[in-house]
Each structure stands twice: as C-alpha cells, then as structure tokens.
C-alpha cells in the first residue's frame, strides 16, 4: 500500500507540474496535429491502409518521444533526482509515477490525434484503439526508463531517440498490424507480451539507472 501511495504522490506532483508549466502536453498536441496535416498533404489521395496506418504510428511514436524528452527536465535542470533518490521509498516508484504521468499526457494527445486521423485519412476501428492503448503502456514503460538514462547525459536530446526508436520497432509492428489485418489478435498479443516483458525489466532496472 505504501508503494502505491508513493507512486500516487509522485504522479500527482508530475501532473501538477505540467498543469502549472504547460510545457509538454500543448507541444505534444500541436506536434501530432501538425504531423497529421503534413502527412495528409504529402500522401497521394489513393493511399493504402498500410501507408496511412504507418504514418499514424510514426506520428504517435514521435509525439511520445517529444514528451519523453521533457519527462525528467525538472529533475535534471534542478538536480532534483538526488532528492527523490534519497527518499526512503522504493526507487521504482519514481519510474512508475513518471510512466503513469507520461501515459496521461500521451492519452490526451491521442484523444486529439485519433479523430484527426479519422478526418484526414480514414475511420479507425476498435482494433486500432486497442493497439494504441496497449502500445501506450510499452512506450511509456520503456521510454521513461530510457529518458532517465538519457537525462544523465549532456547529449540527452540525441541519445533518447537513438535508444528509444530501435526498441519501439515491435510496438510499431504490432500497432500497424493490429489496424490492418482481419485477425488482429496476434498483433495485440504481441503488444501485450511486449508490455509485460518490458514493464518488468524497466521496473526492476530503474534503481540501477538512477544510482551508481
């Protein structure tokens, strides 16, 4: 129970910081809409489902990346990670709270992005929504761990995409696959397995990322 209380306390703090600073969610919203508009004009009018869904996932992954780059900015700029690491709570609570806050931001961006995609390209079914929901968990779990690693580096803006994008390939494969095949169960299963494996790895390894 105390673990969940710590996660709640830290996640609430992250949401409050965003509510006051407003420097992540508005940027994500603008980016995802602008990207879809650009893709709308870049793609030929007789584009295929595969191409359209592929671009949706490109937009979502890069929108998530935009948020992830900023996810440890307060802690990094003001050395605050030391304060959190010294607290007697389980250090993985820091990772889980950041991942949950990031999940909230990403879901907000997708609430705008998915209808925008339906307007610019084609309607989306339940399988795409399910794929996006499952992918969000993996993106936030893996991305938050990598963002914490990158935060310690001077070249963090460069390092995070280099670390994150290769690990996001299975997410894109699963997400696009779930949206375009007749039987999306296989791809949704892939996303669920990815989430489970990487969430456990990230949860267990976060302590080693924030301490020497």
């Amino acid at each position: 129970m105390s673990y969940l209380r710590d996660v709640g306390t830290l996640a609430r703090k992250d949401l409050l910081l965003e509510l006051r600073a407003r420097d992540t969610v508005p940027a994500m919203l603008l980016f995802v809409v602008a990207t879809l508009v650009v893709f709308h004009f870049a793609l030929p009018s007789e584009n295929s489902d595969l191409a359209a869904y592929g671009l949706l996932w490109v937009a979502l992954v890069f929108t998530a990346l935009l948020g992830l780059v900023r996810s440890f900015s307060a802690e990094r700029d003001q050395g605050l990670l030391d304060g959190l690491v010294l607290a007697p709570c389980d250090r993985s609570a820091i990772w889980l709270s950041k991942a949950l806050a990031m999940l909230g931001f990403l879901v907000l961006a997708e609430i705008v992005a998915l209808p925008a995609f339906a307007i610019f390209f084609r309607g989306i079914g339940w399988e795409t929504v399910a794929g996006v929901a499952l992918a969000d968990i993996g993106i936030c779990a893996v991305g938050t761990l990598l963002a914490a690693m990158a935060a310690a580096s001077r070249a963090r803006e460069l390092l995070l995409p280099l670390l994150f994008l290769p690990l996001a390939i299975p997410i894109v494969v699963g997400g696009v696959g779930a949206g375009v095949v007749d039987d999306p169960g296989r791809y949704l299963g892939l996303l669920a397995v990815y989430d489970a494996i990487f969430a456990i790895i990230c949860w267990a390894s976060f302590e080693y990322v924030v301490t020497e």
Partner: protein, 194 residues
Amino acid sequence: MIRARGLSRRFGQKRVLERLDLDLEDNGFLVVTGANGSGKTTLLRLCAGLLAPTGGDLRVETDRGRIGFLAHEPLVYRELTALENLDLYGRLYRIPERRERTGMLLERFGLWNVRNERAGSFSRGMLQRLALCRTLLHEPDLLLLDEPFNALDAEGTDLLAHQLEELRGERTFLVATHDPGRLEALASARLGLA
C-alpha cells in the same frame, strides 16, 4: 556513524578524493574544509549514497531515509509552492504529523508568510531556507550539509546557527564549508581536504 578507509573517487582520469581515512562518531560534528575542487561535495555525496566510491571502503551506519542532505541546489520544485514542496517530501519520508512539522519549520525559517508562493519566485536566500526546511523535515540522524550558510542573510545565518547549536550532540553532522570560523565552536572534529 561514518567510517572510511582508503576512500577514493575518480571522475574519468581526474582524482577527486584519494585514499581518505575518516571516522565520525555518533552525534559528532565534523567540519570539512578545502579549496574549490578539493572533494568536499564529492565526500558528502559519497556519504549520502549518491555516488559510489571508486576505491576503498565506506560505511555509513544509518538508513538512507535517516539522512538529511543539503546540496548546492535546493532540491525543490520551482513550480510548486513552499508548502507543496515540503508536503511532497513529507509524504515520501512518511512523516506522521507532516503538516504540523512543515508549518513549524516554515515558521522557524521565516517562510510561513510565503508558504503558498511558488519556489521559483524565491530569492536564492529564501530557497536556501526552504532547502534547510526540507533537510530537517524528517528529523534525520545524519545531516550532510554542503555550504549551509550559502546565500543566507544575517537573520537566516543566525537562525541556522541557532538550529545547529540546538541539534548539536543529538545528531551527527558532516558540514562542508569555506567559512570554518562560523562553526568553530560547534565542531568536534575537522578535516581539511587538499
């Protein structure tokens, strides 16, 4: 409380601490002095568990939750108010009567009237006062203070000096400073780093 034997720390090729021996008994008051870059901050961070030694042995006989660490940075969120910052740490340290303790510290360090203002609007001295509140909030057994008088005005300096006097003998102190004269009367031991 702290025992180091042959403690060393390097950053790449740069040696910051080299084979340091150190003993600090319970409730002792160790003042660490030295020029810039001599390793004072590194020693404090090693004792806090924020850095790992690259050589030697270091034992700190207390849990990390019983350590109060005052760093160069105040370790408070600029977008949160003074009260919200202390409430956050109070929750993470599971302080049973955190509201009373928070209020008492804010009052003691002269921040009660600005408790609902964001830390980002504070002067450097006010941030240092808030950092001191954060450091003392959970009544730590071991206090690691890096330049505690930094940026404090005369009133803040007196407040802190009074607080240190009050806690001396009840807590263990490791204080890094460029101004050892101010802590001369409190020190039970001194360490000069070259």
